[in-house]
Symmetry: C2
Subunit: 346 residues, 2 copies
């Protein structure tokens, strides 16, 4: 694509949302709905479950018609089941939502726009079917041009250990300090929480960095984009996504996310986890290519499985070892305040 | 996708080929046809040009019917014009080729399978439309599992400076020494030359390393895959492709390709080229993740613009500086023999 191509239109959901849980019985499959409740609760009017469901977000149960009357604009499928399929017995409920005047948003692998009945109805009722995993058209090749504004990227020693929650917590802390900032989502759940974003792992390989550039455009000098990391530079399957995201994001600051006790890469037998110091060194070295001023703002530990004293002891050890603030963003407190201060240091 | 998914069927062209040049007047746009003539001449029966063409491969001109009679199985579009479009006035000629009994292969961005008339004809005549830039279905996520056999990957200080020609020359040199080896193509022209391969830059980001794993499967212990590099780790737009290819290829040996005199990254203003030593160090460091025994086999210089004496002097300087064999694979000679010997060293 030429460099004069128009900027891609970001995926965007119209709030507020009705969270759809289908007939899910396994809480682990409803992570997207829980993420929305926890991080975008003010944009969720209620939940819609089918008979047989054994999972609830605790939000008020309502039908699509009731949700529409309560102001809802989009039914969000809050489930990520194995295989990413939309079961046939959900189609009636989704069809009713369209008839009630709602857009439908899905992060499933199976696409809404391939469901003939939903497409027909969406056309008839003038509603949108938004497949979060489908990148917007028109993503350009990266230019490498330095953009205005400031950027923070979360990176990890592995996948699935807190890069999204850390970025969300940092964005919330920035906002609480009156700093002009945006959370920039790069994955399915993040995009639903933010309301827009770029499914970076679904972009064609040549356009990863270009997609990252599009996601965090030029901004005011004091504006911060807090960008959700994806994959890991040391992950044998997803490292390409992570390097493209790093180069395209041009972060001024990165925060390393780690889960204490995790010793091996998830789902990849035989791969020991890299040390936090290795991740810092490699991210610095590679990140300098597009932002020579890149620096590490601290270390975020996912200590959900530990008690408060053990977590605090761990922070002290790691702080000493790396000479950087260490905190669990979900615990907050002084440790996290110190990490935020280091990220914002001029 | 699950790890039990069937291996993707590689793109595969049926030889021999009729090279189609359309009405091209600019030799630079016919690089694919020239590459096929130079590297797969034994699989090319002739060329087919339209009125107005000012480019020739020097092969015998023949119509699709004549080519079919001479044994051709596939008409290969040997042109890569700006934008990658198939001009409407080529469609008649492509239709005639299908009617003559030929498959059609194209590396254009615009896809053959989106050309209604060609699809109808291909169906009627039982011929295939092969879009080289469209990855095969079923590419798995990488497993990181160490595979049997040996692998060599060409890497570069930049794009477009000889990674494909270097890999082809090394594969040819291996074959000349009686070594069981395969050239593994990762780009449009390489795939056409090899007859099969994986368009690594067109794969969805999550599957880059998985695509590289599929491209060079388990092999006999003494077998070498010589893998065509793509992009460059220091390229601000394409680094993700290069890292995924590096991790998925698990090379035992890599060769660094460089063009003397090139000081800046092509098409990306403001980016100085990394030093050869930086590329070696970074490739070693990142490559060790999936193959701890990775090593550099030498440096390939593209000296097409220099006279023989200047080139030889340059080889000596770089050999001294890096302590590695340095050669121009297209010049061959003792310098290239030394590089091949170093690549094969136990």
């Amino acid at each position: 694509m030429g460099s004069n191509a128009p900027a891609p239109v970001p995926l965007a959901l119209a709030p507020p949302y009705l969270l759809f849980l289908g007939d899910t019985v396994e809480p682990g499959f409803a992570k997207t709905a829980f993420g929305l409740r926890d991080w975008a609760g003010d944009r969720c009017v209620g939940e819609h479950v089918l008979p047989g469901a054994a999972v609830t977000t605790g939000l008020r149960a309502m039908s699509p018609v009731e949700a529409r009357a309560a102001g809802a604009s989009t039914l969000v499928i809050g489930v990520a089941n194995p295989g990413g399929v939309i079961p046939p017995h959900w189609i009636d409920a989704l069809a009713q939502a369209i008839e009630a005047g709602l857009d439908i948003a899905s992060g499933m692998h199976v696409r809404l726009v391939d469901q003939e009945r939903l497409v027909t109805l969406a056309h008839r009722y003038g509603r949108r079917l938004i497949d979060i995993r489908t990148p917007p058209p028109g993503i350009p090749v990266a230019t490498g041009r330095k953009r205005t504004g400031k950027r923070l990227l979360t990176v990890g020693t592995d996948c699935a250990l807190g890069k999204k929650y850390t970025a969300l917590a940092i964005a919330r802390a920035f906002a609480a300090r009156g700093i002009d900032s945006d959370f920039r989502a790069t994955g399915q759940t993040g995009i639903m929480i933010a309301g827009d974003g770029m499914p970076i792992d679904s972009v064609v390989a040549d356009f990863i960095a270009g997609a990252a550039e599009s996601l965090s455009p030029d901004a005011a000098p004091d504006h911060w984009d807090v960008i959700e990391g994806q994959g890991a530079l040391f992950h044998p399957a997803y490292s390409g996504v992570s390097l493209g995201l790093l180069h395209g994001s041009q972060p001024d600051v990165f925060v390393v996310c780690h889960q204490p006790g995790r010793t091996h890469t998830l789902g990849v037998p035989g791969y020991r986890l890299p040390g936090i110091d290795e991740v810092i060194e490699t991210t610095m070295k590679l990140g300098r290519r597009t932002n020579p001023a890149i620096r590490c703002g601290g270390i975020a530990l996912n200590t959900g499985d530990l008690d408060a004293d053990t977590a605090a002891a761990l922070f002290a050890v790691q702080r000493e070892r790396h000479g950087l603030p260490v905190a669990d963003p979900m615990r907050g407190g002084e440790a996290f305040d110190a990490l935020i201060a280091e990220c914002l240091r001029e």
